[in-house]
């Protein structure tokens, strides 16, 4: 009964419903910061997505994810406190890499009397007591559930990157099948992780994605694989690969290279390869079979990287929304003949469970 309820609840969230009330992500969008870090209620779907790799002084390694989603439901003029204009979801996950366990939690709310929302004045985006304070230079995160929590300060070392071409990150053929996509690719992170009553002072690097759009995926796209790579030479790469039902890769797959100065270069589908290299992990919960080992090549940059994960089970098996794999990764590779190492995050959707990610989150990173 519960599952049925929640699955059906997703219909409410489903893109395609009431899309005529919203704007589409179109080329030529003029970004303005800090305004564009916050809410874009004219677009149906929006999210703020934090991931990062952390380590305590004594070497305990963690990965974390904190995501705030907003999905427009109605744009009527009813101003009652509890009236539902948007549904807010949030995901919190902690990968205890040293302890070899994955923890996650999720929540769904309406704005109501300040339960979940955004406030440009204070820079806050929150869902219950999970909260991020946004700023160009500085961001802070605070989220906890009964077993685990994070409290982190994030400092940007590079300006925000706008992905895609002419302000839009195209996801499939056709006008508007795109998103406005902004990333902070290197956030120096310090703070505290609490886990089962123990507090760890931690440091590391985080990544933040912010996207807003109205229905972007094509109907034949069933899932995607996304990578954020933070190399130890102070460069970063973001790549996504959109998959078709027949297993082929969509030509609108794309990526971005960010150099030491923070300058970004668009990588289109023909500029890179991103291929599973054999090792898979099968989820007991969703029975999804995820490729957890990848090889990335970007010939134009003479860049080649092997991706592996230190913890195979980083699947966020959701009660409320779709199930996906989102986890910390290790990178070893070569750049222009020099060896290169790094950390990052890998996201894989549409592999397992009864509900396809595409039904809910119609976009990728």
């Amino acid at each position: 009964m519960r599952t049925r309820f929640i699955v059906l609840l997703l219909i409410l969230l489903a893109p395609g419903a009431y899309t005529q009330d919203y704007k589409q992500a179109l080329p030529g969008y003029q970004y303005q910061f800090p305004r564009d870090h916050f809410n874009h209620p004219d677009y149906q779907t929006e999210w703020w997505y934090y991931t990062g790799n952390l380590k305590s002084a004594d070497g305990h390694r963690f990965g974390f994810e904190l995501t705030f989603f907003r999905q427009g439901v109605s744009r009527d003029s009813n101003d009652a406190t509890w009236h539902v204009h948007d549904i807010y979801m949030a995901h919190l996950a902690l990968s205890d890499i040293s302890g070899r366990r994955f923890y996650h939690d999720e929540r769904i709310n309406r704005a109501g009397p300040g339960i979940a929302s955004l406030d440009a004045a204070s820079g806050a985006v929150w869902n219950g007591n999970w909260r991020a304070l946004l700023g160009d230079q500085h961001q802070s995160l605070r989220a906890a559930e009964e077993r685990f929590g994070i409290q982190l300060e994030l400092a940007s070392t590079k300006p925000p990157v706008i992905h895609g071409r002419n302000g839009v990150s195209q996801k499939s053929a056709g006008v508007g099948h795109a998103s406005h996509y902004i990333s902070f690719t290197r956030l120096l992170t310090s703070g505290e992780v609490s886990l089962n009553g123990t507090r760890y002072k931690v440091e590391g690097t985080s990544w933040m994605d912010h996207e807003f759009f109205t229905e972007s995926l094509g109907t034949n796209e069933t899932g995607w694989d996304w990578l954020s790579l933070q190399f130890d030479d102070n460069t970063e790469v973001m790549l996504y690969r959109l998959r078709h039902k027949d297993g082929s890769v969509d030509p609108y797959s794309s990526g971005t290279y960010v150099d030491v100065q923070g300058k970004s270069v668009l990588l289109s589908a023909k500029d890179f390869t991103m291929t599973p290299t054999g090792e898979t992990w099968t989820s007991e919960e969703s029975h999804g079979k995820y490729p957890v080992q990848w090889r990335v090549t970007i010939p134009g940059l003479s860049l080649q990287a092997d991706i592996s994960t230190p913890l195979a089970n980083q699947e966020l098996a959701s009660r409320i929304g779709p199930t996906y794999w989102e986890g910390a990764i290790d990178i070893s590779g070569q750049h222009a003949g020099k060896s290169l190492r790094g950390v990052g995050y890998l996201e894989m959707t549409g592999y397992g469970g009864s509900h396809s990610w595409g039904a809910n989150r119609s976009n990728n990173h």
């Binding site: 059906l8 609840l9 219909i11 409410l12 419903a17 439901v73 300040g114 219950g128």
Partner: protein
């Protein structure tokens, strides 16, 4: 002598020989026990398992946040953003009346979206995918399966004074958990439907296991404004249970009085049977049975009767409970809290109680006759001609003891309540009943000796014989008179109390209902349901020609010191045609009301002062909105409409703290000379789409008295049963007298008495017993009514009742009992007529 033989000789054979006597004892036990059982079962179903219907879909939460007039919305946001890992479930809790059936059901508003976070509570179930798209529509409702609505079906609901059409979008699962229908809406829709803008009724909180409930309560307490109450979940239910426990306690005691009447009868019947078996006792004693063996044999007999009686009482009590539970539910709804009686459940516990009570009463009642039986000396008993009791009772000594018990009873009546229960009041009543029982032999002796010659002159020699015979068998007569008079006393005292109460309420309404017309929202009222009338409609009424002023009465449910109470406000600045003057201080109403408008002042009802031990001049501190406000009590007013207790503020004071302008009731004053019916019609038209009931002053009083009578229906029923038990006992007792005295009747016949004279003799005996019982019962009843009115009622409910003789009711009831007593003599008289004098005289 073998024990089994003794038992057979002494008990088994006589029991079968005298089936009527045995049946009577069993029946007396059965009736008494069945009443106790019925009240226990009904009490359990109606109030014992009381769980507020608002506890539907509450899940496994730990704490709840409530406030008088509702919790401001923003508190939900504040709690949600605290760093603690809490689960937060805000709720709207109200009632809706289903227009089609008139059934009033709980209306619960929950955050349907956030409920998905909650792993443990049960979810609503959309009937189809289409239904889900409309989850948060303002007209979407979810019903219990039992309501049998299909997806998309329309349902008309009356909420406050508005009827609107809603669409069924899904089902509430697990409806078998709660004993009735409920309607669930999304919190947004519910807030709009109930017009509770900006407020929710309750916020439920689920806490992490550590560091314990008390610790969390302290932490959260400091995070909340002082006016909000933070209690363990279901404290409303707990408070109501505490309140209902006192009510149920009183009821249980009433039921045991019925059992007491039964005990008298068992005592009497066994006494008679001991006399009947004197010869047998003598024989077994002569054959070597010890005194103890005889004692045990008689007690064992009583225990078996008790056992059989209890066995009959169980199904009988179950049947009686069906009627009782309905009456009880009415009382609970009118006086205390909206409730739905649960199902009647015959538990092992109640069956055990039935057997323990049944056998206990039978054995205790048999104790004295059995002891007497064991005292029978073997030689004497075997001799012929021994008929009357060997041990004569010392009526003077008994009367003296009775007098001192009555004195002690009087003293007990002066003692205060213990823990809100009038324990000494009940002790006083028991002492008075005992005193009466002990004084009855003296009364019977005195009356019959005075009356016998007079009776002879008026009614002939049979009357003289009847009178003398009563005096001669003083003990047996006293027991009969005692039993009947106790039943009559119970009836009389309750009759006087209810009658006095009724008269008090009538004269109170005279002063307290000064307006010409009264309006309330349609739907059934209850002590804790306060639907509202829309302010727009109130404004329209004010403009109706002929209307001079409107007093807006607004009530809220609050908890004060862990007990439910009603907080209300009214316009007190209206020109009144008749001034109410029912304040405890006796001051003119205008003075009191003037004080009420100044600052934070309140008046409280008399039951409130009784429950919370406050008086005029004291301070009551109430949580209002977010604030904690202290009010000075300027006076105490009489109130008989509500047992929970009222705190009343001036409307302007209330609006300062709770700005909701809607009223729960309106009192409309007409201009002098305005036509009542015409103005009423105009108001009805102004109602447009507001569903309100309009009562004229006279209608309202009639309605109030109707509710009053309904409320006391259960007490009427209980006393009627007690009287039926007593009258049946008289019939049975006379029957055993006839059997016992058949030799005497035989002799009378041989001496020339006609059968008609024998019949007359027995009927006159019955009549004399009836008169004596009426005299004693009326006297005892009067005293008991004083205890009931001024001690038991005052201490448990706090109502000041003016004493009043309900003359016509009493006259009627006493006549019925009297006639019934005489009629009860007819069958025994007929048996006596049929006796063969020769046979009975030579029987032994």
């Amino acid at each position: 002598m073998p024990y089994s033989l003794l038992f057979y000789r002494l008990i088994v054979r006589p029991v079968f020989r005298e089936r009527a006597r045995s049946l009577l004892v069993i029946l007396a036990v059965a009736l008494g026990v069945s009443i106790v059982l019925a009240i226990d079962l009904a009490g359990n179903a109606a109030v014992g398992s009381f769980r507020s219907s608002m506890e539907s879909l509450t899940g496994d939460n730990d704490l709840e946040v409530t406030a008088a007039g509702g919790v401001p919305d923003k508190i939900v946001g504040q709690l949600a953003t605290l760093t603690y890992p809490l689960r937060i479930s805000p709720r709207i809790e109200d009632h809706a009346t289903i227009a089609a059936t008139g059934e009033t059901v709980p209306l619960i508003g929950i955050d349907i979206i956030a409920e998905a976070n909650n792993v443990s509570t049960q979810q609503i179930e959309p009937l189809n995918d289409e239904g889900l798209k409309h989850l948060t529509d303002p007209d979407a409702v979810f019903t219990t399966r039992a309501m049998g609505k299909s997806p998309g079906a329309k349902i008309s609901l009356l909420i406050n004074d508005q009827t609107h059409e809603y669409t069924v979008r899904g089902l509430v699962p697990g409806s078998s958990q709660f004993s009735g229908n409920i309607v669930v809406m999304d919190i947004d829709a519910a807030q709009q439907a109930t017009d509770k803008k900006g407020r929710v009724d309750r916020i439920l909180l689920k806490l992490p296991g550590q560091p314990g409930l008390d610790n969390w309560q302290q932490r959260l307490r400091s995070a909340l404004p002082p006016g909000l109450a933070l209690n363990p979940q279901g404290s409303q239910t707990a408070a109501n249970r505490r309140m209902l426990a006192a009510f149920r306690g009183n009821l249980t005691i009433l039921s045991y009085i019925a059992l007491l009447v039964g005990a008298f009868l068992i005592y009497n019947t066994i006494s008679v049977s001991v006399v009947r078996r004197r010869t047998d006792i003598g024989t077994v004693r002569a054959l070597g049975a010890s005194r103890n063996a005889v004692l045990i044999a008689f007690l064992a007999e009583a225990a078996v009767f008790g056992l059989l009686g209890a066995a009959i009482a169980i199904p009988l009590g179950r049947v009686l409970a069906i009627g009782a539970v309905r009456l009880l539910a009415t009382t609970v709804d009118a006086l205390y809290v909206s409730s739905r009686p649960g199902s009647l459940a015959l538990s092992t516990g109640s069956i055990l109680i039935a057997f323990v009570v049944g056998m206990g009463v039978a054995v205790v009642s048999a104790l004295s006759p059995a002891r007497e039986a064991s005292m029978v000396p073997p030689t004497q008993a075997m001799g012929r001609g021994q008929r009357e009791y060997a041990i004569r009772i010392d009526r003077k000594r008994d009367a003296l003891i009775g007098l001192s018990l009555a004195f002690a009873g009087g003293l007990a009546a002066l003692a205060p309540a213990i823990g809100g229960r009038p324990l000494f009041g009940y002790l006083s009543a028991i002492l008075l009943i005992a005193a009466s029982a002990l004084s009855i032999p003296a009364l019977v002796y005195w009356c019959t000796s005075v009356a016998s010659s007079v009776l002879q002159k008026i009614m002939g020699v049979e009357a003289m014989l009847a009178s003398r015979s009563l005096a001669a068998s003083l003990r047996r007569t006293s027991v009969l008179v005692g039993a009947l008079s106790t039943a009559i006393a119970m009836m009389t005292s309750v009759g006087i109390m209810v009658g006095s109460f009724r008269q008090t309420v009538i004269s109170w309404m005279e002063s307290e209902l000064p307006a010409d017309l009264y309006l309330r929202p349609a739907g059934d009222p209850s002590a804790d349901r306060h639907p509202t009338i829309s302010p727009a409609f109130t404004e329209r009424i004010a403009k109706v020609p002929g209307v001079e002023g409107i007093s807006r009465f607004r009530a809220y449910e609050i908890q004060y010191q862990g007990l439910p109470a009603t907080l209300a406000s009214a316009d007190t600045n209206l020109p009144r045609h008749r001034e109410p003057s029912s304040f405890l201080s006796g001051r003119p109403a205008a003075d009191v009301l003037q004080q009420l408008t100044a600052g934070d002042a309140a008046i409280v009802s008399e039951p409130f002062t009784n429950k919370h031990h406050v008086k005029a001049g004291d301070i009551v501190t109430l949580p209002l909105g977010e604030k904690l406000v202290s009010f000075r009590i300027v006076d105490v007013f009489f109130d008989y409409g509500n047992e929970r207790g009222f705190v009343i503020l001036d409307r302007s004071t209330m609006l300062r703290y709770l700005p909701d302008p809607a009223a729960s009731n309106l009192a409309v004053y007409l201009r002098p000379g305005a036509d009542l019916e015409f103005t009423r019609e105009l108001i009805k038209r102004a109602a447009v789409n507001s569903q309100v009931l309009i009562f004229s002053n006279r209608d309202l009083r009639r309605e109030a008295i109707r509710i009053f009578d309904q409320t006391f229906a259960i007490t009427y029923a209980l006393e009627a049963i007690a009287v039926i038990v007593a009258v049946m006992g008289i019939g049975g007792a006379l029957m055993s007298i006839v059997i016992d005295r058949r030799r005497e009747f035989g002799l009378l016949r041989i001496l020339g008495a006609t059968t008609a004279q024998i019949r007359k003799l027995i009927l006159i005996e019955a009549a004399l017993i009836g008169i004596l019982a009426n005299i004693a019962g009326l006297a005892l009843g009067f005293l008991l009514s004083l205890v009931l009115i001024f001690v038991i009622n005052k201490q448990s409910f706090g109502w000041t009742i003016q004493f009043h003789w309900p003359v016509s009711v009493l006259l009627f009831a006493l006549s019925v009992v009297y006639v019934a007593t005489v009629l009860a003599g007819i069958y025994p008289a007929r048996i006596a007529q049929r006796l063969n004098p020769i046979e009975v005289v030579h029987e032994d």
